[in-house]
């Protein structure tokens, strides 16, 4: 067993344990903090897959932005659902059954994949060339500029939409009532 395999196994086991804690822990703040552990573990996996840029994006977008946003909203809404309330719905066993059946089915299906034991081919280009290629391909007219622009528009729409949704709509009328 090489050292890379050992790192993978440790990180994967840690990430899976943290994922279990995300879905099982009663306190939502703890769940959000465990979520950060999962996201960091996946960033390490990206590094092992020679995708260093994606690892940095994972840290910047997921851990920095999404996880912190989730923690802030958890703190804002903590009064509504403390750890004392029941955290799972009535049909939780059905959800468990679905997840287990899907997991077993997927793992059974993997036995039929011919590429399963394949090893990673050696990269022809070094990391810098790959990163250049990724950056150019996103803005190249002949390659991925359309999905890139669609993603930009989507982000803008999500920005405006979330401001509109979270805006306190009745604040004006409430102020009138108070005066």
């Amino acid at each position: 067993m090489t050292i890379v395999q050992l790192v993978f196994l440790l990180v994967a086991a840690g990430a899976l344990f943290a994922a279990l804690m995300v879905v099982l822990s009663k306190r939502l703040v703890h769940a959000a903090l465990w979520l950060i552990v999962v996201l960091a573990g996946i960033a390490v996996l990206f590094v092992l897959l020679n995708a260093g840029f994606l690892a940095v994006v994972q840290v910047a977008v997921y851990i920095d932005a999404i996880a912190i946003l989730i923690i802030i909203v958890v703190m804002l809404t903590q009064r509504a659902m403390g750890a004392t309330k029941i955290q799972v719905n009535r049909n939780w066993w059905l959800a468990l059954l679905t997840a287990v059946v899907l997991c077993v089915g997927l793992l059974a299906l993997f036995n039929q994949m011919p590429a399963l034991q394949s090893q990673a081919p050696t990269l022809e280009a070094d990391a810098e060339t790959l990163l250049d290629d990724l950056g150019v391909s996103l803005v190249d007219v002949n390659r991925f500029i359309l999905p890139f622009e669609v993603a930009s528009v989507l982000l803008l729409a999500a920005l405006i939409g979330s401001i509109m949704i979270a805006w306190p709509r009745d604040s004006a009328s409430e102020e009138e009532r108070e005066t």
């Binding site: 879905v23 959000a32 996946i42 809404t77 799972v88 719905n89 899907l102 990673a120 999500a158």
Partner: protein, 101 residues
Amino acid sequence: MIPLSWYIIFAAILFCVGLYGALARRNALAILMGIELMLNATNVNLVAFWRYGTLAIRGQVFTLIVFAVAAAEAAVGLALIISIYRRRTTIAVDEINMMKW
């Protein structure tokens, strides 16, 4: 070196854990966290298939688009949760029934 199967098995288990979280939890925020876990599992798969395949840089581009979609989804989802909390002072999904007849 690491065979492809390790990444796929890891992603499959992570996806199923996220699926359980999204289906079973009552708290809307916990459901959102389950969805994030599932998105991350697909991302691991996309990058692994890029690394072990011969599809040039496409896998990474795909993953970047998924990142953007996940960010948009999280922003809108959290805004919805804040808005619902303001109106109903609850974020338990089985108590949010204003659209249920």
